[in-house]
């Protein structure tokens, strides 16, 4: 008796099996890591049949790629919105990140994590990560006043942001990382900062 005619889901429930799979994969991959998450788990958690899964994503690697693209779109949208919400200038950086770091589900940067896990196995993740970080740096640049050094300042800030993201992942609480980041931001953008100070005439 092969399970008879039980038919729990309406067979074509239309909320989009593909969406459900991608959402589920996102949550599991981000929370537990990619290698730690088997396809079977994704399939079970998204309540989809195996064949359906493989119709949409021919292989796990394909799913990983799409996961990263999806994560990129989603994270960038959150990031620019949060920056605007907090004022839209460089002072917004720390409070915006503070929202993220304080989240229960915070697990660091999905891209940095993926490179660590798959950098050697699946070289595309390195390229995707590079693009992601470039976009992040561009979003940071948009907070800075136009100047000859804006791009460079944004790069430096982006590097410090990555440092804060990493530290907030393993420190007990994210306050220290946020405070360090804020000090770095202030000192990088200080009107009398470092080497440029030495060239500045005192009125």
């Amino acid at each position: 008796m092969p399970a008879a005619k039980r038919n729990t889901a309406p067979a074509a429930p239309a909320p989009g099996a593909r969406e459900r799979i991608l959402l589920t994969a996102h949550d599991l991959f981000y929370r537990d890591g990619i290698r730690a998450t088997g396809i079977d788990r994704v399939i079970a958690a998204s309540g989809v049949a195996k064949l359906t899964f493989y119709r949409h994503f021919p292989s796990k690697n394909e799913l990983v790629r799409e996961f990263l693209e999806y994560r990129h779109r989603r994270w960038m949208a959150w990031f620019v919105a949060a920056l605007q919400r907090h004022g839209g200038d460089s002072k917004a950086l720390v409070p915006a990140l503070g929202e993220w770091f304080g989240d229960d589900g915070y697990r660091g940067c999905a891209f940095i994590n993926s490179v660590g896990e798959l950098g050697e196995t699946l070289p595309e993740v390195v390229a995707i990560t590079r693009r992601h970080k470039q976009d992040m740096a561009d979003a940071i640049a948009a907070l800075l006043p136009a100047s000859r050094q804006r791009k460079r300042q944004a790069m430096d800030l982006a590097l410090a942001v990555d440092g804060a993201i990493v530290r907030a992942r393993f420190d007990q609480n994210p306050q220290a990382a946020l405070a360090s980041l804020e000090r770095i931001r202030k000192s990088l953008l200080a009107p009398l900062g470092a080497s440029s100070a030495r060239r500045t005439r005192i009125s």
Copy 2:
């Protein structure tokens, strides 16, 4: 015919099976990742019998812990030596890290990578990472002149170093990360830095 009496290795070669296992595991775990490296691979590559392996390391998790402890000792020894070799003050930071980033086998920070992979599965790696990063910050503090803010400066620098480590992992070449780190270092340690500058009387 069960392989007869072939006896390739002298059975008790004494260069220490345990050492060989740990060394091999280190190279494989660091290069390919922990989850990507099966016990069988470690055993084959270290040329040891399975039973021998399990006598020394009761489980893979045990091996992972010992790997991280070993990595910590080894990396810290390299780090303080490199800093001394480059002058022993804070200017040594960037050239020392440059050595590491330029290495062919560079794969970022083993601890950051491990947290990404196993942070949820094996909580000890988070604690070990915390200790490791604290020791790294202490080594950086030793480069700074004594002052009330030395610890705080070291923390901020350590965060920026983590940012540089991460970026050097996925950027095409490490120069940009090193340049950013150097600018951050200069600006954090500038005599007329940021907020303190505002309190400074202009002679």
